[in-house]
């Protein structure tokens, strides 16, 4: 009788959930980290102006350089605060590295805060024109 009882206890089918949860968490961490890397170039402090009639950006060119201009007028590229001279140097380096045949083809995106005075944006544009680049666009948000 004792033997039979033991057999009955062992017959309960169990699915190991713990290993599955391990894998799910691993995947979540992976996606969270990679998503954060993609958004690194965008400065969260910068509040963009609204342009409801602009064409939405379907796919951003990965070989483009973004200059963020904060409300206080400070400029940064990829979160690194830079002076106008440093931006010029960065633009030259990046343009020659990404477009070795025709460095002037480097697209530049200026993300200016909606409260910043245009004079600060002019400084960023001056840095661009001083390096001989011309493909500049202003970023805005499509929101009614």
């Amino acid at each position: 009788m004792a033997r039979k009882k033991r057999r009955e206890e062992l017959e309960v089918a169990d699915i190991p959930i713990s290993s599955m949860i391990d894998i799910i968490f691993l995947l979540i961490i992976f996606f969270v980290v990679t998503a954060a890397l993609d958004k690194e170039v965008e400065d969260e402090v910068v509040k963009l102006s609204k342009a409801p009639h602009g064409q939405p950006v379907k796919k951003k060119n990965p070989r483009s350089l973004t200059i963020n201009v904060r409300p206080d007028g400070s400029m940064n590229v990829g979160g690194v605060v830079m002076s106008t001279k440093k931006i010029e140097y960065t633009l030259r380096t990046v343009a020659n590295k990404w477009y070795p045949g025709n460095p002037k083809n480097l697209p530049i995106i200026i993300r200016g805060d909606n409260r910043v005075k245009h004079g600060h944006i002019q400084k960023a544009m001056d840095a661009v024109t001083n390096t001989g680049l011309y493909r500049v666009k202003f970023m805005a948000v499509i929101e009614n």
Partner: protein, 150 residues
Amino acid sequence: MARRQKKKGSVVEAEIPMSSMIDVVFLLLIYFVVTQKPIIEDTLLGMNLPSDDKSATSTPPKDDTKLMIDVFNLGREDRVDSYHVNGGGPHKLKSLRENYFQDLDPETTIIINCGPNARHAKLIQLLDALAEANLTKLNLINDPNVKFAP
């Protein structure tokens, strides 16, 4: 008899521990709800940059195929972030849309002279209104006579 009955009555129950899985699912649900951001689409507004040519000043063009728009903030009450067409009086964006942009030929060259003390948002609003009117020949110039007061 007792033996047979016991054998038939013993049912093997397959149990999946649901409580812990529900815990995890709720945790994930809360995480995604909290961290979710509204999907905001970006747009890029392009124009030609100011040239190095210092002779390119902000004098209104006499040519009909060109339109000069000034965006100014000179600190005076009557000219705070206002738009001026061909050197004329101040306009609001709505008035520019209705009186100038609606019937304008898409081939018209627009010269924008944005003052350094005007807010960047004013320029973006103007570029947006021009994009609405399908005007794409845009040139941005700097007026060297206006001093920047950061």
